[in-house]
Amino acid sequence: SQTIHQWPATLVQPVGSPLSLECTVEGTSNPNLYWYRQAAGRGLQLLFYSVGIGQISSEVPQNLSASRPQDRQFILSSKKLLLSDSGFYLCAWSGSTNEKLFFGSGTQLSVL
């Protein structure tokens, strides 16, 4: 069966520090991968999605970047965190275009 792993669960980082959040999927090949951010009590904002290795589409210009170095690995990064980067970050995958998403358990990022 397929599983998605996302870590860490919580992270507290100072302003200006770098960020690296990792997400891996098991049990499937060539998944579509997604990074979403959720502000407290709000909906999800699509940040990046990827349909293959090295193929990244950015939805919102911002202080973050994403990479897909391997088929089932998706990384969210920042060189210098801002206060506004705080939020709940969710990784997700889907098996094919326009179908349902399977979400990881999320990372609560607090930038202080």
Binding site: Q6, N32, Y34, Y36, G41, R42, G43, L44, Q45, L46, Y49, V51, S57, E59, F88, L90, A92, S94, T97, N98, E99, K100, L101, F102, F103, G104, S105, G106, Q108
Partner: protein, 112 residues
């Protein structure tokens, strides 16, 4: 930008009652999906309804879709305290490959 908007933002009911949540969207869609999120957790897919479908059932869930009004509703029958969660609708635009856009959600509280 948000594609789906849920209504109401919050809903409080007693166990055994039915809960109805509505979702409106702006553009033509490929499909519409409903997700559930327990506090601080990842989202779980509930049901997907395609643009050529009008109604779908899954257990105690009933989803309707009216493409002429660009709206959908999620009905949870005979609610239980365990149904307490936030519920989100998400849409895939026609031609919007891989881009699932979420609304702000409805927070449902079911009281024993």
């Amino acid at each position: 930008s948000q594609q789906g908007e849920e209504d109401p933002q919050a809903l409080s009911i007693q166990e055994g009652e039915n809960a109805t949540m509505n979702c409106s969207y702006k553009t033509s869609i490929n499909n519409l999906q409903w997700y559930r999120q327990n506090s601080g957790r990842g989202l779980v897919h509930l049901i997907l309804i395609r643009s050529n479908e009008r109604e779908k059932h899954s257990g105690r869930l009933r989803v309707t879709l009216d493409t002429s009004k660009k709206s959908s509703s999620l009905l949870i029958t005979a609610s239980r305290a365990a149904d307490t969660a936030s519920y989100f609708c998400a849409t895939v635009r026609e031609g919007g490959y891989n881009k699932l856009i979420f609304g702000a959600g409805t927070r449902l509280a079911v009281h024993p």
